[in-house]
Amino acid sequence: MNDKSSKLIDKKGIRLDGRKADELRPLKLQVGVLSNADGSAYIEHGKNKILAAAFGPREMHPKHLALADRMVLRCRYHMAPFSVQERKSPAPSRREVELSKVIRESLEPALFLELYPRTGVDVFIEVLQADGGTRCASITAAALAIADAGVPMRDLVVACAAGKVDNTIVLDLHDEEDKLGDADVPVAYMPSLDAVTLLQMDGILTPDEFQRAVDMAMNGCKKIYEMQKEALKTKYMVVKDTEEKEEDEEVEE
């Protein structure tokens, strides 16, 4: 698709940032980072830095958007003007509108929408710094924010991309690989249900390569899933620890 003037993978199969083909970028996940939101999460995925906040279930505003038989999930994916090399206008672009839609549709299968009629959950995602694969990192963080808000879920949703770079199927493309590579396949997945909730692709792949990329992305998702669960537990361990301390102090008094 693009002219390949620069090599993205060396002879030993090592990528520009030192990773192997099936290796993830370093990840950092934190839950409960914003005090005003009902639930929140922060993700660093490579150089991506993304905040997600969830509000609700709460009354829908405006009211006429409420549905009599189920909850409404709303998502807003938004990039900060300073998140990319050239300043991005803060007005929502067509890309952001589309991503907000597919992210919402990747999270909806995890929620019991029919159990909360007439209510709404709002998820706001702010990309503070972008480095390829923001939609995936956003989904991983948004699922944590919703869980942190205490909204029951069938499973956490976790997302990761795979793609084709220099004729090799690789996991978790960074910005340069995304732009210069041959194909990009973002996948969102609910591991314990074996259900794919987001699947997109651009570039050109043979059917076999496509299948391998989807499989590789799902395996990446499974690894991130463990970190996601750990991050969620970590927050509540801290809460438990402080509660225990407070109780101890009370006993001492």
């Binding site: 189920r70 509108v97 929408l113 909730t197 699947l199 997109q200 059917p207």
Partner: protein, 263 residues
């Protein structure tokens, strides 16, 4: 989407599907009758109107000159826009494009762009300064489901029908000459949408099926049978097995359409 009436209808539709049939007696993997007319708008450089069952989409292509993008100074520009015109459905409203029309435009755009359908290298007039800009405008005239496949087919048909003006370029001046040449195309992608209703995969969902379907997968296939764009939509999921099945189905159906239209 799931109002109470459609839930009752869902039962009916899924019972039909379990028996391998659709509401309109089609098979699970059959398209509705397709008719394409090319060159229906004389003032546009290219145009095509498609009838997919009762779904009707008109695509007009306008070609103008403009500046290239800074990262591709020697390439022409492709832009796709979609209008869900209010006369096409009681549920379409006038106003700025909503997420559905933006998604539709971006799916059509991605299919064409990623397969390198338009040979943009041949649309360069003066590198970094002047190139041809190809505007593909998707106009939905009657909505009865599966706008994605109808729009993608019509967009390709319109591009195949598009003529570029002959020109002369001297000292930064563009002079339009007599006559036209065909818009250079490198590939002819075909997009196939697979709907999932009660864990069954169906091709070309019509409106009522769309209202009850769980999710959809749109897959663009080029002449070599390779996949060049994918988009999942809808509030449900696909299992890995269903994705494999859908990609095989898309290939078979794309090949069938290619043969039918001799593309």
């Amino acid at each position: 989407m799931s109002s109470l009436i459609t839930r009752v209808r869902l039962k009916q539709i899924s019972q039909h599907i379990e028996n391998g049939k659709r509401l309109d007696e089609r098979g699970l993997h059959d398209y509705r009758p397709i008719k394409i007319e090319q060159g229906v708008i004389e003032k546009a450089e290219g145009s095509a109107r498609i009838y997919l069952g009762k779904t009707e989409v008109l695509v007009g292509v306008k070609v103008e000159t403009g500046e290239p993008f800074p990262d591709t100074p020697d390439r022409g520009v492709q832009t796709v826009n979609a209008e869900l015109v209010p006369l096409a459905s009681p549920n379409f409203e006038p106003g700025p494009p909503d997420e559905n029309s933006i998604e539709l435009a971006r799916i059509v755009d991605r299919g064409l762009r990623e397969s390198n359908a338009i040979d943009t290298a041949k649309l360069c007039i003066d590198a970094g300064k002047k190139v041809f800009v190809v505007f593909v405008d998707v106009y939905v005239l009657n909505y009865d489901g599966n706008l994605i496949d109808a729009s993608a087919l019509a967009a390709l048909a319109a591009l195949m029908n598009t003529k570029l003006p002959n020109y002369e370029y001297k000292d930064g001046e563009l002079k339009i000459k007599q006559g036209f040449t065909q818009l250079p195309l490198k590939s002819r992608p075909i997009t196939v949408t697979i709907g999932k209703i009660n864990n069954q995969l169906v091709i070309d969902p019509q409106l009522e099926e769309e209202q009850v379907m769980d999710s959809r997968l749109s897959i663009a296939i080029n002449e070599q049978g390779n996949i060049c764009a994918v988009q999942k939509g809808g509030s449900s999921y696909f299992t890995p097995q269903q994705i494999l099945e859908a990609s095989k189905l898309a290939q078979a159906k794309a090949a069938e359409l290619r043969k039918k239209f001799d593309w």
